[in-house]
């Protein structure tokens, strides 16, 4: 692939003495939706967190548009146009929806704020209805929308999503994935999506990677992986939303 936006090569990450990632290679091209699927404990979230610099990779390189970001602190990485929707949403529970979105715009140009706010509200009308409500009183799906909206407020080039479907009802999951697709198509944001919900993720994604025990086991286009017998056996059998 020519000139990927995010190029991960040989990344190894440790939690203390325990190695979680054993040399992961992965590319995300500009404008692509790339998903990373795998079982619990495969290291999916660890890889996403490593991209954000917390924990740092002990070996290998992580390049964003050619610049190695693997040694930078998280907030510096975010400043380079990487927005993160962390696992478990992590919205500010005691702040209102509006204030949460304001926090998302911390790095942005204040002149863009109003327009960005309207774009987020247009994408998630539910947030507009609840703009003065405390984040903690929103439903799970609304909180996920808020987390995504908050990440979009910084006008990212690359959006990292960690299990956005976690703990949500099937109908809401569909809405969230639809929104992610629109963010990629309409806003031109490159998306790297970590998911356990392999079916939805692979259907949405241009390409996918399968992570197992800290190594990339398979990769290919979303539809190829969906059809792959091994993927079907390991991640898709037994009913999906």
């Amino acid at each position: 692939m020519p000139d990927p936006m995010l190029a991960i090569a040989g990344v190894e990450t440790f939690y203390g003495a325990i190695q979680a990632l054993h040399g992961v290679d992965l590319d995300v091209g500009r404008g692509e939706i790339v998903t990373l699927i795998g079982a619990n404990g495969a290291g999916k979230s660890t890889l996403l967190m490593t991209i954000c610099g917390n924990p740092r990779a002990r070996a290998g390189s992580i390049r964003l548009d050619g610049e190695d970001i693997s040694g930078l602190p998280t907030h510096e990485i975010v400043r380079r146009g990487v927005a993160q929707v962390p696992e478990g949403r992590r919205i500010f529970a005691r702040m209102s929806v509006f204030e949460n979105l304001q926090m998302g715009a911390t790095l942005g140009n204040p002149a863009n704020f109003q327009g960005d706010l309207e774009r987020v509200f247009a994408m998630f009308p539910r947030l507009a209805e609840r703009r003065d409500q405390r984040g903690g009183t929103l439903s799970g799906g609304e909180q996920q929308m808020l987390a995504i909206g908050r990440a979009l407020m910084s006008r990212p080039r690359l959006l990292l999503l960690d299990e956005p479907s976690l703990g949500l009802a099937p109908l809401i999951v569909r809405q969230i994935f639809e929104a992610i697709g629109r963010i990629a198509r309409e806003e031109g944001v490159t998306i790297f999506l970590v998911e356990q919900n392999a079916f939805h993720a692979l259907r949405l994604a241009d390409r996918g990677y399968v992570l197992a025990n800290g190594r990339v086991r398979l990769s290919g286009s979303g539809s190829d992986l969906l059809a792959n017998a091994e993927v079907r056996a390991a991640y898709l059998e037994g009913g999906h939303a």
Binding site: T74, A83, Q84, A93, M95, M103, T106, E118, E129, D132
Partner: protein, 474 residues
């Protein structure tokens, strides 16, 4: 309704009484008395006192059980009977027991009636008129309190004692507001806040007595010194949270105190620093006779000298300093850095994910919080004219923290109410003599029971938008 539950309720009340008896027998039941030089100490048995206390506890507990199963009127009646018995000229072993019985009865009645009051209040607030009144009160209570604070020195009851208390309360209000930045907004539990207060106080004491600098010149310097110490403390604790942070800050507070105590050449150690000059008004001093080359305020203004003038001047200084602290904090809350403090309190990981630098954010919180403590410290030194390490012990940190927590973390008005309560109450209770701290403790327990999240637990959004009917616009 009572029938089937009566045995359980009696058993519960009996158990409570038993516990009270076990605890009280040594505290209330015996008293050591000096029976003369030969035999030394002997015992006085006060079982009648204990008995009355236990009856009160039994009846009180039973009344609470009644109230909890919905029989509020009987409980209130029981409380009223208790209060009446206590107030009657009945022969009781000691005068205090009258108070104890009355108090027990009143508390029981209040507790039984509380749900009604709560409910009535909630309904009243829910009506349109009530809601408007509530909003009006929230908006104007601060203004009213400020107005009262401004005219207090001119009020007829503002004698020297009241003014002294006013200055004391305002000092703690300012410290509370300062600590509120660190604890209430940024969520960093700081148990050593008094260290910065000490830094400010010693900065002024040393610079004025040794280098002849005046209060107004030192004030900003003291703030800067304290802020520097805030950053010094901030660096090593950046990675700590919660309990661990609390322990390190506690240690930091003690280190500062011990350094002041032991560095005798510099700080004069435990003997303290005396004859610190007070603040001046445009160069004029508050004294009956001015030192050479200066004039007194009374001379400057052409009014007769009154020893109260100095106190009133101090009062207005601390009022202004406290207001500056408050306005500054309010302003910060609307700015990105202040918002980042609150976000950091909520979720540090999410903050990093949004590109907030947690290091800088925490350090600014520590530094700015410390700066206001430094201002307050300077003021304290100028007011007391004598400082020693004894004024900066851990208990001061604990009181300031209690003011913030009791007020409701992050609430500015709450800090004022809590400061009045925590600093004012012990003073007003002074007439109760030995029972002063008991009454104080009781007040604290009542607050914990009825307002577990602080006096003002509600957080006002820093920016309130008018609801917009159509989503997506503005």
């Amino acid at each position: 309704m009572v029938g089937p539950r009566l045995p359980a309720m009696l058993k519960d009340a009996g158990l409570t009484t038993l516990v009270a008896a076990a605890l009280g027998i040594f505290i209330v039941g015996f008293r050591t008395v000096d029976v003369g030089s030969r035999t030394g100490l002997g015992f006085d048995y006060e079982f009648a006192d204990l008995g009355v206390a236990l009856v009160v506890i039994f009846v009180g507990r039973f009344g609470l059980s009644l109230a909890s199963i919905g029989l509020r009127w009987p409980a209130i009646a029981l409380g009223a009977v208790m209060a009446a018995v206590g107030a009657s000229p009945l022969e009781l072993p000691s005068g205090f027991l009258h108070w104890f019985v009355v108090l027990g009865g009143v508390l029981l009645a209040i507790r039984a009636a509380w749900p009604w009051a709560n409910q009535a209040f909630a309904t009243a607030v829910a009506t349109p008129g009530g809601r408007a009144l509530d909003r009006l009160a929230a908006k104007w209570i601060g203004v009213l309190m400020l107005g009262f604070a401004l005219v207090l020195p001119a009020l007829p009851f503002a004698d020297q004692k009241t003014m002294d208390l006013g200055v004391l309360i305002l000092t703690y209000v300012m410290l509370g507001w300062g600590l509120n930045i660190v604890v209430g907004l940024a969520g960093l539990l700081d148990l050593g806040y008094v260290a910065f207060y000490a830094v400010g106080a010693y900065a002024y004491a040393l610079l004025s007595t040794q280098h002849g600098l005046g209060f107004w010149a030192v004030l900003p310097l003291a703030g800067m010194f304290a802020a520097t110490f805030g950053v010094l403390l901030g660096f090593p604790v950046l990675r700590l949270r919660g309990d661990y942070l609390a322990i390190v800050t506690l240690g930091f507070g003690e280190i500062i105190r011990l350094v002041i105590l032991n560095w005798v050449d510099f700080t004069n150690g435990p003997a303290g620093i005396g004859s610190i000059p007070g603040p001046t008004l445009f160069g004029a001093v508050f004294a009956e006779t001015a030192p050479a080359g200066k004039q007194t305020v009374a001379e400057m203004l052409g009014i007769p000298f009154d020893s109260n003038q100095r106190l009133i001047f101090l009062y207005y200084i601390i009022l202004v300093l406290a207001l500056v602290t408050n306005l500054f904090t309010q302003r910060m809350r609307a700015l990105p850095v202040g918002r980042a403090w609150e976000a950091l309190r909520e979720d540090e990981t999410a903050c990093k994910a949004l590109g907030i630098n947690p290091t800088n954010t925490k350090l600014t919180a520590f530094a700015i919080g410390a700066m206001f403590a430094g201002f307050a410290g300077s003021f304290f030194a100028a007011k007391q004219r004598f400082i020693s390490p004894e004024s900066f012990t851990f208990i001061e940190s604990a009181i300031i923290l209690a003011i913030v927590v009791l007020g409701g973390m992050g609430s500015q008005i709450g800090v004022v109410l809590a400061a009045i309560l925590l600093i004012g109450l012990p003073e007003w209770f002074r007439d109760l003599g030995n029972y002063r701290m008991l009454a104080f403790g009781l007040a604290m327990v009542l607050i914990m029971v009825f307002r577990p999240r602080g006096l003002i637990a509600h957080r006002e959004p820093s920016i309130r938008l008018h609801p917009v009917a159509s989503g997506g616009s503005g």
